[in-house]
Structures are given as C-alpha cells and as structure tokens.
C-alpha cells in the first residue's frame, strides 16, 4: 500500500464513498457507495458495500452484504455474509453462514456452518463442516466435508478433485435415512472415501463407499470397497 493513505472509521451509522484507504473499520451500521481498495476491511456490525472490494484482509463479525466482486488475501467471517458477485480469496474462513451468488475461487477455504454457492467453486483445499449447497461444480485439490444434522441436507452438482472425503456425524440409534446426507450428481476423483452420499455416478481410482451411501453407478480403476450398509446398483472396473 502506498504511503499517505488514511483510515476510515464509521462508528454508529454512516455512509462513505469508495476510494483507497489503509484501514476501513465499521462499528455499527455502514454503507459504502464506491469501489474500495484497502489493506484491511473490518466490520463489526452491519455493512453494505455496493461496489467491488479489494482488500488485503477482510474481517467480518456480524452481518455484511457485498454487492460487487470481492477479492482478499485473507478473509474471516463470523456471522452472516452475502456476496452477490464473484469472490476471490487466498485463505477463507467462515464460521456461520455465507451466501455466495457468484463463483468462489480460493487457495484454502474452510467453512464451519452453512454455505450456499450459486456458481462454481475452485480451491486447492476445501473443508466444510455443516451443510453446503453448491449449484455448480466443486473443483478442488482436497475436499473434506463433514455433514451435520442441524443444517439440513447438503448438495453439489458435480465434484471433481484429487482427494474426496465425506463424513457424517455418528448419531447413536438414528437410522441411516434420518441422517444428514450429501446429494451429488457426479463425483470424479482419484481417491474417494464417502459416507452418507447419494450420487448418480462415482468415478475414481481408489473408491470407498461407506455407510448410508446410495450410488447408481461406480466406476473404479484400482480398488473398490463397499460398506454393508451402502447401496450400489452397478459397479464396473475399468
């Protein structure tokens, strides 16, 4: 960041036009009506950015709405955030709820809670504990999904990656059908280890179909292991 940039602080309720800043801090309720470039964007309260935000670091505690493209090297969200356009991040950490209406592209994405993504996701490492709904394709190096009951069902259109792991939390005395599940149309990965997943087609090198899975077709190259409490209609070795 160049020298001579100022901070902008909104305490209480306020509005500002965009520009270049060192630090943008909103405590209370703030609206930003222009494109913002800053080293740090910190929101503790409610904020709306009507245009693009480009920041070194974004930290949100509370509630935020981004109506333009967002890019940041690091992003931490605690609370509820809506992104109406594309999100590009280095490291992203979400605790709570994120609603992304565009594409999400990141290096390391960690989500604990609930995430809705209307576009595609690209990441080197993608971890989600809770629930996720991806309307597009999830393309990542490693995908680790932990399903939880309190957030409802999870879904993704397609998953393509190197390593995929899906785990459902163990619930004593709860039948498999009542457990949380992940619904995917197509999974393609090198190493697949899934539980509680419903998919039409699963393709991989080494595949482990765990308890509670319901798969129409599995195609594998090297190994296939199917749990007794999993349903696989058809399997093929290629």
């Amino acid at each position: 960041m160049a020298e001579g940039l100022h901070d902008i602080v909104i305490n209480g309720s306020g509005e500002t036009n965009g520009g270049r800043f060192r630090k943008v801090v909103i405590r209370g309720d703030g609206s930003i009506h222009g494109k913002i470039e800053c080293a740090a964007f910190i929101n503790r309260g409610t904020s709306t950015a009507f245009h693009a935000v480009q920041a070194g670091k974004i930290k949100i505690t509370g509630q935020s709405l981004f109506r333009g493209d967002v890019s940041a090297e690091r992003m931490g969200v605690v609370g509820q955030t809506t992104f109406e356009r594309a999100v590009t991040v280095g490291r992203m950490n979400v605790i709570g709820e994120a609603d992304i209406r565009g594409h999400l592209k990141g290096e390391t994405v960690k989500i604990r809670g609930k995430v809705l993504i209307a576009g595609d996701v690209e990441a080197e490492s993608f971890t989600a504990i809770g629930g996720l709904s991806i309307a597009g394709m999830l393309n990542a190096g490693t995908v680790d999904i932990g399903l939880r009951r309190y957030v409802g069902t999870s879904e993704a259109k397609e998953v393509g990656c190197e390593n995929l792991r899906v785990r459902a939390k163990k619930w004593l005395f709860v039948p498999d059908v009542a457990k949380p599940a992940l619904t995917v149309e197509l999974i393609e990965a090198d190493v697949i280890d899934i539980e509680a997943t419903r998919a039409k087609v699963v393709r991989g090198n080494r595949v482990r179909i765990g308890a509670g899975c319901d798969i129409d077709l599995v195609e594998y190259k090297q190994e296939l292991e199917i749990h007794p409490r999993a349903a696989v209609k058809e399997k093929r070795k290629i």
Partner: protein, 209 residues
C-alpha cells in the same frame, strides 16, 4: 466450427492421466474453460473436449511438467501477452518469422529495433497467413491493420481470425470464443487462424533458447 470431440473417459484412457490431474490443470488454467463441452448422453451429462487440441495440449503438459512449474505452464498457454522485447536479430534467430516477412513488415511500419509482444504477434500472424498462400501481400495489410487496431480489445480472450472473400472483395474479422459464425454460400473463407494458438506457439518460440 466443425470439430471432432473426445469424451472425458476416452481422454483419460488414452493419455493415462487421472481425474485429479485433469481437474487440477483446469483450475490452474492449463486447459481453457471453453474446451469443456457438456452434452447430454443416455447416461446423463458427459463432458467432451475438442479432440485434437486437448490431446496435443495434454501431451505438451505431460512432457513439460517435470521441468516447469504449473504456473509457468499456465503462463505459456494463456492468451495473455508475455512481458518481452526481442531485437530484430533474435526474432530471426529464433525462427519466429522469415527474413522476407520481416522485410515486408518493415515496409508497412518502418524499421524497428526491438519487438514488444504485440509487434511480435503481428509479425508472427503475418508470417502465418502469408505462408498459407491463400492471400496476397496487399490483403495481408488489411489483417495487420485490423490486428493492430483491435489488439487491446482482444487481449486475454481466445479468439479466431477469419479472412473472407466474396466476388473479389476481401475483408477480415475477429471472433471471440465461444461463438460461431455462419456465412452465406458465396462467401469463401480464405483463412481461419485461432489467435490463442498463435500466441501459444509464439510464446513457445520465444522461450525456446
């Protein structure tokens, strides 16, 4: 743009790469998004690729991936210009263009000492289109002028150069992908040159020392 397609499954079988590699390369932009063509088949949605181009690209990646990082490869395959300036001697030495083309290029623009990427691309395209033998020197000038005019707009896009003729009239146009063009029956397409590919070849020549 009639092309032969290859299914994802067949592609992996033929090249021996894994799903993970394919997806990784897509993420790293080694394989352009618009090569992934979705079609519905009786087993549901399947992905297809332009056969020749994807096979060539994957062989290139496989042969280069041990000596170059994925990011370096991505730079080379991307349609974005490289940061470079070459002297006229080097342009000839690296066989980017022939002496004849270069002389002709000088006639149009005046002699120059060093070539930036956009100039390199112009002279390289000139060489390519003259070499096809389908157009004359005068016609090549139209292409050069158009390329110089629209270079900024075309940057970073994968596009195709078309040179068409009808009843002795000749003109050229650029089409950005994904897009199809259809002509009336009297139109003859003299040249069809994918610029992204020209850029890729050019970068290869620049980097080969």
């Amino acid at each position: 743009m009639e092309r032969e397609l290859i299914s994802k499954k067949e592609l992996l079988e033929r090249t021996g790469i894994s799903y993970g590699q394919l997806y990784r390369w897509k993420r790293k932009k080694l394989i352009p998004e618009d090569w992934f063509i979705r079609k519905s088949t009786f087993t549901g949605q399947e992905t297809f690729f332009p056969r020749e181009r994807i096979l060539e690209r994957i062989h290139k990646i496989l042969s280069m991936k041990d000596s170059h990082s994925l990011d370096e490869l991505a730079d080379q395959f991307s349609p974005n210009p490289a940061e470079i300036a070459l002297s006229a001697d080097e342009v000839l030495k690296r066989h980017i263009v022939s002496k004849t083309t270069l002389d002709y290029f000088y006639e149009q623009t005046g002699a120059m000492e060093s070539f930036t990427f956009d100039k390199l691309l112009q002279v390289y395209v000139l060489e390519q289109i003259l070499r096809t033998g389908a157009i004359s020197l005068d016609e090549a000038r139209i292409v050069l002028a158009a390329l110089a005019d629209h270079y900024d707009q075309l940057q970073g896009k994968s596009c195709e150069l078309l040179f068409i003729r009808k009843f002795g009239l000749a003109t050229c146009l650029f089409v950005t992908a994904p897009g199809e063009v259809y002509f009336e029956k009297d139109v003859k397409v003299a040249i069809r040159l994918p610029l992204a590919r020209a850029i890729e070849e050019l970068k290869e020549k620049i980097n080969a020392t």
